[in-house]
Subunit: 413 residues, 2 copies
């Protein structure tokens, strides 16, 4: 008998028909003997409807009251799903975040979970009930309703799994797992049977938007096995776990992520002196512009060039700030480019395999793709290239690293 | 500085525009120096939408989950109203029933309030905040969400007023007060400045649907002055209070209530023996048919006739039961009639004024209206007559008891 936390997002509970389908699926698991804690989001469209109501009153809604408002979305779903289970003769009980006592800090709209009291839930499970919990919400120590921010239902599921010592946390989505890369770009993209938390973090933050990053971090921190599955078809999905020692010889590369949302800014000919990076990025950060890749080359002639990427929507804002800084620093020029993309190889295996970077650059060179920027981490190599080369680059790398080929009998699957 | 509890129903908060209008009104009261606790219902239509969702899953929704579902309606309103107040620069804070700790029993869908902890609310008021509370809901001692049943927001308002020692509880509705009778039937119907709790109970239960009966009972029990006002226009409304000694000489009759929802059933020629009333009404009650007026005359020849009224929709059901009982008791006949109505005179004054009944029957006789049944209580006389006479009867009585005439300078206004 396993204790499983299952999370169904807004699309999976979009209407009464889908809620009934989720109930059927839960019943099947329950009849197999699993103990189930189910986390649900608001019915898709509902959160947006509530947000629009708020905005029709306040352009920037009061944060506390905003959370009181939007948390009703999940509360509706938990009640309806329990009704569907009870109709099927299955004992079920709903809990709001406050009823579970999912204790958070008081940062309304983006609260962080501090503590979960799983006592009542475990009693329900022992009594044979399916427990249905509203995702995305909690309460602070004074009893105020808080929300975890959009997509926080994944985090609720993982946090509950950790608090209850669940055997697995299953996130049901509209895809059937995590792929080596986007199947819309590479036909041969394969579903991974398994990936590590670290790899998943790099894949997610780089644009393979399957899971919320916070949920993956949380799962890694508490070592909660996390599985991504399809809501609409059966299948094993992709299991996200810690790296296990006997898998050190697993293939080097888990997958290829890419992102075309970024723009590149270069400030040319700034003094190559201590503190210059802060002088440039300080004002950018103060303007709440998030910076992704940062590259500074060793300078010649006492000056250097400083390049970074921001979200494409923020390019104009960043460029205006940069023009001001350039004047202050006596820089020669500011160059911006929003026709770029970022392509990244991700894999824990590359830590112990020399030559991954060389192989990557060779594959890109053979396709005549010029590399504009390079950054590396322990388990990732990213390049910034012209946007027009994105598909070509991803396909070349997918093939060069043998990701197309089904590999049988190893941990990657 | 007065502490006022104000309650706005679904029509008064039907959309964002009306919520903004309520905020304007609250702000004006707040600026006059009143401390305000505001109780709101769900936006009109919202509760029905939620109930339909529930019914699309379960024909008889699970009671616990039903309360989890429908309580979201008021939660949306409290958040939006607070946003509208905060936008106007007025500090405000929302509370769900559970957050106030409106403690109820665990009778889902029709819970009764047991205890209210007003501490947090009073602190907010002292800090200059307007407090906005979700009507209609509470929680039981185990933290389960409960609802008080439809219209329970009035009860929430009165219970809060009692718990906080409020100076007045104001119920804003779509009428501007309590009238001597229905103005659609009698042109000269007058708004009452004042009415007693007991009179209001009789008026409400007899068809003048302005306030929930439970709320009036509650207000009477805790002596909370209750005022009915219009949401849409200014005016003093009608104050509902205890009878005060110096008003013993107030006019005899407060108003005339009537009801055309009933049907009359008579079982003719039942044995005039002890227990026969129970033999007849026991099975009716077991079938969950509510009985209103009951009349049994003194019998001749060892048999008697037994007549009662039920809601018109339940006549067929009651008649079927009665046919069975008639056979068992050897009664002669069962007669039913759904073309009847009930007209009632209500007024605490009639306790000390002889001749009210006689005057009533005389007025009806002068209009050639035959009286089919008569029942009386301390402050009420009701007659059942043919439905076609309803307007004629109400107008005759309104005139006979001088209710048309504006009476200046007395407590009735």
């Amino acid at each position: 008998m396993a204790l499983i936390v299952q999370k169904f997002g807004g699309t999976s509970v979009a209407n009464v028909g889908r809620i009934e389908a989720v109930a059927d699926r839960l019943l099947a698991c329950h009849e197999r003997g699993d103990q189930l804690v189910v986390v649900v989001s608001a019915m898709s469209g509902e959160t947006n409807r509530l947000i629009e109501l708020a905005h029709s009153i306040q352009s920037t809604p009061d944060p506390r009251e905003f959370d009181v408002l939007v948390s009703t979305g999940e509360q509706v779903t938990i009640a309806l799903l329990c009704m569907a289970l009870i109709k099927r003769g299955c004992a079920a009980r709903s809990y709001t975040g406050a009823q579970v006592r999912i204790l958070t800090d008081n940062a309304y709209n983006k609260a962080r979970i501090q503590e979960i009291d799983g006592g009542a839930l475990l009693s329900d499970l022992d009594a044979g009930r399916i427990v249905v919990v509203a995702g995305f919400q909690g309460m602070d120590v004074d009893g105020n309703i808080t929300t975890l921010g959009r997509g926080g239902s994944d985090t609720t599921a993982v946090a509950l799994a950790a608090a209850l010592g669940a055997d697995e946390c299953q996130i049901f989505t509209d895809v059937d797992g995590v792929y080596t890369t986007d199947p819309r770009v590479v036909n041969g993209a394969r579903r991974l049977d398994r990936i590590t938390f670290e790899e998943m973090l790099e894949m997610a933050s780089l644009g393979s938007k399957v899971l919320q990053i916070r949920a993956v971090e949380f799962a890694g921190k508490y070592n909660v096995p996390l599985r991504v599955l399809s809501s609409f078809e059966d299948g094993p999905g992709t299991l996200i776990t810690r790296e296990e020692p006997d898998q050190m010889e697993a293939p080097t590369i888990a997958g290829i992520a890419f992102n075309r949302d970024e723009a590149k800014l270069t400030i040319v000919g700034v003094p190559d002196t201590p503190g210059v990076a802060y002088q440039i990025l300080g004002p950018i950060g103060e303007a709440n512009v998030e910076v992704d890749v940062i590259v500074q080359n060793v300078g010649a002639d006492g000056t250097t060039d400083f390049t970074f990427t921001v979200h494409r929507n923020e390019m104009a804002k960043a460029e205006a700030i940069l023009q001001r800084i350039a004047a202050e620093l006596g820089a020669r020029q500011v160059i911006s480019d929003d026709r770029i993309c970022k392509v990244s190889l991700v894999g824990v295996g590359m830590r112990s395999h020399a030559g991954v970077a060389a192989k990557m650059f060779k594959a890109l060179a053979e396709s005549n793709i010029n590399i504009q920027m390079i950054t590396t981490s322990e388990i990732k190599i990213s390049v910034v290239i012209a946007e027009k080369f994105i598909e070509l680059a991803v396909r070349s790398l997918h093939s060069a690293f043998d990701l197309d080929e089904p590999v049988s009998g190893d941990a990657r699957g």
